[in-house]
Subunit: 196 residues, 2 copies
């Protein structure tokens, strides 16, 4: 019998991805296939030049009422970022390098907490470097590798894969071919994964 | 001590409203303030001439994967409507007449089931008349009252109220001034209502 698996597609700029990444980083019963990607190209394909939470003011205002309640529900810290959405390009490039490394879950959780608990600018290389260092990694080497042409091409390929899978938001989960959109479906996706 | 209350804003054309209306029609512990309204003017204010589930094809395709799973979760019947979204104007006008009547919950549930279980055209007056008759009401009298100028004006006022409350989708719940958007938040809203 193979261990249950779930693929988690997320963007470090996405507040609902924050909830799911932290929830998945905690749990031990399911193998998580981390799929960092950028929502920007997905939104651009819709003709949107920003997050719908910015473009649709009423929805955006609601989201900032919803998030503190959601964080209480899941026992997670919360501070509304002073800038939203933050630039997640660099964090995504670093995360691509970590996808199959034992530090991946911890790195993703710390970047999310930097953005949504500590109100730090995750688009700043110093912030990402400090996170890498804090978990015992070689920050300069990883940042250099993250910005290599090869790795930039890998992130572009990831975006193409997201479009090919018909992703339209984040977080999005796959259990086999079955798609689940949104942190509100994570429990359902996990149940599906462990049911086999 | 006053009984717990929840306001439920919904559109008969909305598939996620279907889930919430059926769930609320069943439960007895909370007073439901039914608020039928039309999403059309809300979407039009965003520059949209249709449901986002039609305008955003990938999201729309996903919704029809999500709905059967959701209906299993809540123990509700489901058949994907052959037309979406259906015209909900007439049903909303009739529902306005029933807001404070004992038949309201039953009427709303039956219209929703006509749309999302029986694939009937709820925009057709004969379908609405048959539902009214099936619950022992005077269908011709209610349809005439629904189409009166006074009642049409009441629905326009309801749409203005929805905009003033910053609604951007349906279902939307209020417990006091606290807003909860989407069937995924109904349990949270009910907990909040009964917590007092």
């Amino acid at each position: 019998m193979t261990a249950p698996e779930i693929a988690c597609w997320f963007d470090f700029a996405s507040n609902y991805s924050y909830l799911s990444v932290l929830r998945l980083a905690r749990q031990k019963d399911v193998i998580v296939r981390w799929k960092p990607f950028l929502l920007g190209p997905i939104f651009a394909a819709q003709g949107w030049n920003n997050s719908p939470f910015v473009l649709q003011k009423d929805k955006g205002d609601y989201v900032w009422q919803d998030m503190p309640r959601e964080c209480v529900k899941y026992g997670l810290p919360w501070r509304q970022p002073s800038e939203f959405p933050r630039r997640s390009l660099l964090a995504a490039r670093v995360a691509l390098l970590g996808e199959h490394q034992p530090w991946m879950a911890e790195f993703c959780a710390r970047v999310m907490l930097a953005n949504f608990e500590h109100d730090e600018d995750i688009g700043n290389a110093d912030v990402i470097a400090a996170i890498l260092t804090s978990i015992g990694l070689d920050a300069p080497a990883l940042l250099a590798a993250a910005q290599s042409d090869d790795n930039k091409a890998r992130l572009r390929a990831r975006s193409e894969e997201a479009a090919a899978l018909h992703l339209f938001g984040a977080p999005t989960f796959f259990v086999g071919a079955e798609m689940y959109w949104g942190n509100d479906r994570l429990s359902d996706a996990l149940s599906r994964a462990t049911r086999g």
